[in-house]
Amino acid sequence: EDQVTQSPEALRLQEGESSSLNCSYTVSGLRGLFWYRQDPGKGPEFLFTLYSAGEEKEKERLKATLTKKESFLHITAPKPEDSATYLCAVQGVGFNKFYFGSGTKLNVKP
């Protein structure tokens, strides 16, 4: 069965301290890997879609990369407003459902 594992479960950073979040996945043919941000009490907000190994996408302080087994979300010089839970999801070829990881809860302190 398709699976997604995210690490670490929680991450505390000082403002400006860069780091990376990991998403390891097992899927029989990757159709897409998706990153979302979720703030407390809200629905997930789309960040990136990656389709093939080697692909990279950037948005402000965030950069997502993809290999055949995992994806990283790199956060450069984070700010307190980057504090949120970051979710990773995969979709397999020929399937409609998405499998989500449990997320990484990021806390950036000023």
């Binding site: 997604v4 995210q6 159709r31 897409g32 998706f34 979302y36 009490g41 809200k42 629905g43 997930p44 907000e45 789309f46 879609t49 979710l87 999801a89 979709q91 399937f95 409609n96 459902k97 998405f98 499998y99 989500f100 990881g101 449990s102 997320g103």
Partner: protein, 114 residues
């Protein structure tokens, strides 16, 4: 434009009761998903609609759960004989045409079964 909306935002019910949760997708979006999210977990897929039909309902946990989308727009998730284990946030998402399109999530309905 307006995003995905869900009503009610909170629902408290007693064990054994019937509940309906409503999702209004973004206008023109043909694909619609329902998810369930428990505390500290990621969303868990329940059902996917393409237009009016349920293209994939393999995530519905049992026959107490049912969802409809009669006119290809608004969807209702129905839960019969609720159990305490059904307590969670129920999320709805829509995308423009296909499952691979960007999904836009609603704020969710927090269901509490006492």
């Amino acid at each position: 434009g307006a995003g995905v909306s869900q009503t009610p935002s909170n629902k408290v019910t007693e064990k054994g009761k019937y509940v309906e949760l409503r999702c209004d997708p973004i206008s023109g979006h043909t694909a619609l998903y329902w998810y369930r999210q428990s505390l500290g977990q990621g969303p868990e897929f329940l059902i996917y609609f393409q237009g009016t039909g349920a293209a994939d309902d393999s995530g519905l946990p049992n026959d107490r759960f049912f969802a409809v989308r009669p006119e290809g727009s608004v969807s209702t998730l129905k839960i019969q004989r609720t159990e305490r284990g059904d307590s969670a946030v129920y999320l709805c998402a829509s995308s423009l045409t296909e499952a691979t399109d960007t999904q836009y999530f609603g704020p969710g309905t927090r269901l509490t079964v006492l």
